[in-house]
């Protein structure tokens, strides 16, 4: 049995608080399939069944203050097994979105803020970005079979536009080469934008719909600007 816990006063709770949420959370029959399948069940007392329960009881403050929504990896296994098809990952995400931004754990919001401000999570200036890309491009051009390789940056009318994960221009530059070599060997007509090139969208993880819209909007803007019809967005 659990230790003596804080007692939740249902006279103060408003179970109808999350009425407007349509993740089918009201269909829950507390079967526990989600809890059984979740890889994070048990960490600090978390399990997805509890989270759905707390939403049903309208325990907004408890949920906002709780670590639970942030322990979830949003892998989606719970949703897969749920017999009532409750969209638990999106439910968790919405709870995340309720928290004050300055209380969002770790670097998630900080990275997002940088991205909103500068176009990428690192706040990497444009010139530095281009320099790194061209540097890697030159290394590829030195390899046999890849003579003449050049990184096409801001190429108008290309066939494919690809975004870039910030880690690839930070600590893992080498991993840029895999994509690029494939493009080259396939004879693909591709390009990378020099502004707003960030592929990650941490508003997804912090429950920030506005930020998600903005980041996505910028990628679309790039596509319009460069008149590219196909987007490769691996992140």
């Amino acid at each position: 049995m659990k230790e003596a816990q804080k007692i939740i006063d249902l006279n103060q709770a408003d179970p109808q608080k999350f009425r407007s949420w349509n993740f089918l959370q009201d269909f829950c029959i507390t079967c526990g399939l989600c809890a059984s399948s979740c890889p994070a069940s048990g960490i600090d007392g978390f399990d997805p069944r509890k989270v759905v329960r707390m939403v049903s009881l309208g325990l907004e403050q408890e949920l906002v203050d709780s670590k639970f929504p942030w322990i979830c990896t949003m892998c989606g296994k719970c949703e897969e097994v749920c017999p009532m098809q409750i969209n638990i990952p999106d439910l968790v995400r919405s709870i995340r979105g309720l928290r004050d931004r300055d209380k969002v754990p770790g670097t998630l919001h900080k990275g997002l803020q940088a991205a909103l401000k500068t176009g990428n999570n690192l706040g990497l200036p444009k010139d530095d970005f281009i320099f790194i890309l061209e540097d890697v491009g030159e290394e590829i051009a030195e390899e046999p079979g890849f003579e003449g390789f050049k990184v096409p940056i801001d190429k108008k009318g290309a066939n494919v536009l690809t975004t870039v994960h910030n880690k690839l221009v930070n600590t893992q530059n080498e991993d840029l080469k895999h994509w690029w070599k494939i493009f080259y060997a396939a004879g693909e007509d591709w390009t990378i934008p020099s502004d707003n090139w960030e592929g990650t969208n941490w508003g997804y993880f912090t429950g920030d719909d506005e930020a998600m819209k903005t980041m996505t909007g910028r990628i679309l803007e790039n596509m319009r600007r460069l008149e590219v019809k196909t987007l490769l967005w691996p992140e």
């Binding site: 659990k2 939740i8 006063d9 249902l10 006279n11 269909f27 507390t30 509890k50 329960r53």
Partner: protein
């Protein structure tokens, strides 16, 4: 001229039965205990609407299906009333579980039944529940309930939630959705905003604060501890047999179940039968499980079908009913007392078996201290001869000679099933099939040993599964008696065994007789046909 069916009890099921029987032109009378019509809630007879049988006291009921005779005192006189059938029905009582929660009714605590009557009028309910914002329902927490009760709670909560703008909380242990449409209903209630709190152990802590209960408990699912002080607490009910049933059951000599309902908890009685032909029990009066309207409708239909079947006259007279030899009979009335079907009646102070009622269980014959009753086909001498024949069929064989008295409803079909399944049964197994283990008397068991059985088995139905209610227990207690006496005549008591079976237990039958045979093989075969001594 069709005799009437007399219905004891009022309410939905009674009305349904009447409706069904009316449709077939079967005459119906409603029995009313006269003293009850003054001011205790039972409707006074309406002229023209129905036929009534009004009585002061019911005294006795004899006969069987199609030909029942009720004896009652009516306005100081003893009257007889004939009936084709008697149906016990009625609403059953509902006792609120207040005490189980340490609560008492009144004020901010109500029973489900009170709320139900209140809900007949929307205005009354709104007025009485004015100012109520939060309502807690306690259902199936102190005691597990049936789906019909849970359904009522869910519907009531949903109504208060959607029509009266209250926030409802349903506290339960196991949510009962095992009824048609209840899973969908649960969903509807959730969509209306009803909150469920599921508990396992222990009981919630309920205290009183300022005249209102405060419920503190740990929710099974979230492991959080919740505290609620509702404006109204509704406690559910335990379904009980109706108050007047004790008297009726005694007069009609109906066997009841452990909770006191008017039908024993025995699958042979399904759906609406009792231990007596022609006396039926329908609706909540027969079991707490028959609570909802749907179930009551089915009971009513089955009762009507039973009556109609009787009217159409498919009754077969038992040609070989038990017979009492009036010369031998000492009028101890043991048979009269023991007959589960009330087939022994008194005619001119002589017990006589009514062949229309007798089910040939043989309990009377086996228990008669004067050995004055015979069940044709099952007498000691004929059984003895049968056994002797079985033994001599293969006199060279070395396998133990086993006599198994097998109840015709359980062990005997199980034995047949075992053979058909290809199980090899002991080589010298002699099965004596009897209509009911209740007919296996002490004399039969001793006869088997007398005729040379190395081992005797008495195989009966499971406890609670005997068509005669107690035939199996009679048989087993007789066997236990004999078992303890066997060493006095030099027979190892391990040579007599009992077991219970059902008709579909072929594999178990085979294993049972096989292991008994193996046990017997360890002992010396008994010699000769006379009871002799043997080394232990």
């Amino acid at each position: 001229m069709t005799r009437e069916t007399i219905i004891f009890g009022q309410g939905f099921c009674a009305d349904e039965i009447r409706r069904r029987l009316d449709a077939f032109g079967c005459p119906v009378a409603t029995a009313i205990a006269h003293r009850n019509t003054q001011g205790s809630g039972q409707k006074a007879p309406e002229p023209e609407a129905q036929v009534y049988f009004v009585y002061d006291r019911l005294l006795a009921c004899s006969g069987s299906s199609g030909d029942l005779t009720l004896l009652a005192s009516v306005e100081g006189k003893i009257v007889q009333r004939k009936a084709a059938a008697v149906i016990l029905t009625g609403e059953g009582d509902r006792e609120p579980d207040f005490a189980a929660y340490g609560l008492s009714g009144g004020g901010a605590v109500m029973s489900l039944g009170e709320l139900r009557s209140l809900s007949d009028s929307a205005e009354k309910m709104a007025a009485k529940l004015k100012g109520v914002k939060r309502v807690a329902f306690l259902t199936g927490v102190a005691r597990e309930k049936v789906p019909a009760v849970c359904e009522e709670v869910m519907r009531m909560a949903m109504r208060l939630q959607s029509e009266n703008g209250m926030q409802t909380f349903i506290y339960t242990r196991n949510l009962k959705v095992a009824g048609w449409g209840l899973e969908a209903l649960y969903r509807e209630t959730r969509m209306a905003g009803v909150v469920y709190i599921k508990l396992s152990q222990p009981m919630p802590e309920i205290t009183i604060e300022d005249g209102r209960p405060v419920i503190t408990c740990q929710d099974d699912i979230s492991h959080e501890t919740f505290r609620l002080r509702p404006d109204l607490t509704v406690v559910d009910e335990t379904l009980m047999p109706p108050a007047g049933l004790d008297e009726l059951a005694a007069v009609f000599q109906i066997q009841r179940d452990e909770q006191g309902f008017a039908q024993s908890d025995n699958v042979h009685r399904l759906t609406v039968a009792t231990n007596r032909h022609g006396i039926l029990a329908a609706g909540p009066v027969r079991s707490a499980l028959v609570a909802g309207r749907h179930d009551q409708r089915l009971d009513a239909a089955n009762a009507a079908a039973a009556v109609l079947g009787e009217v159409l006259g498919k009754k077969v007279v038992a040609e070989d009913a038990a017979e009492i030899d009036t010369g031998q009979c000492v009028r101890c009335l043991t048979c009269y007392r023991l007959c589960p079907y009330r087939a022994v009646v008194l005619r001119d102070e002589q017990p006589v078996v009514d062949p229309l009622v007798c089910e040939r269980c043989g309990i009377c014959a086996a228990e008669c201290p004067a050995l004055a009753i015979r069940l044709p086909g099952f007498e000691r001498s004929s059984i003895g001869d049968d056994i002797a024949q079985g033994r001599s069929a293969d006199p060279q064989a070395e396998a133990p000679f086993i006599v198994a008295f097998c109840c015709g409803r359980s062990a005997a079909p199980a034995a047949r099933l075992a053979s058909m399944m290809g199980r090899r049964l002991p080589a010298r197994l002699k099965i004596i099939e009897v209509p009911c283990a209740g007919s296996v008397s002490r004399e039969f068991i001793l006869e088997a040993f007398t005729r040379g059985a190395d081992g005797v088995m008495v195989l009966t139905c499971h406890t609670g599964n005997c068509h005669s209610e107690k035939g199996n227990r009679h048989a087993r207690s007789r066997a236990a008696e004999i078992r303890s006496l066997l060493p006095l005549v030099g027979i190892d008591k391990e040579r007599l065994t009992t077991a219970t079976l059902a008709s579909n237990m072929g594999a178990e039958f085979a294993r049972l007789v096989d292991s008994f045979s193996a046990e017997l093989e360890k002992r010396a075969t008994r010699t000769g046909s006379a009871v002799g001594s043997e080394t232990a």
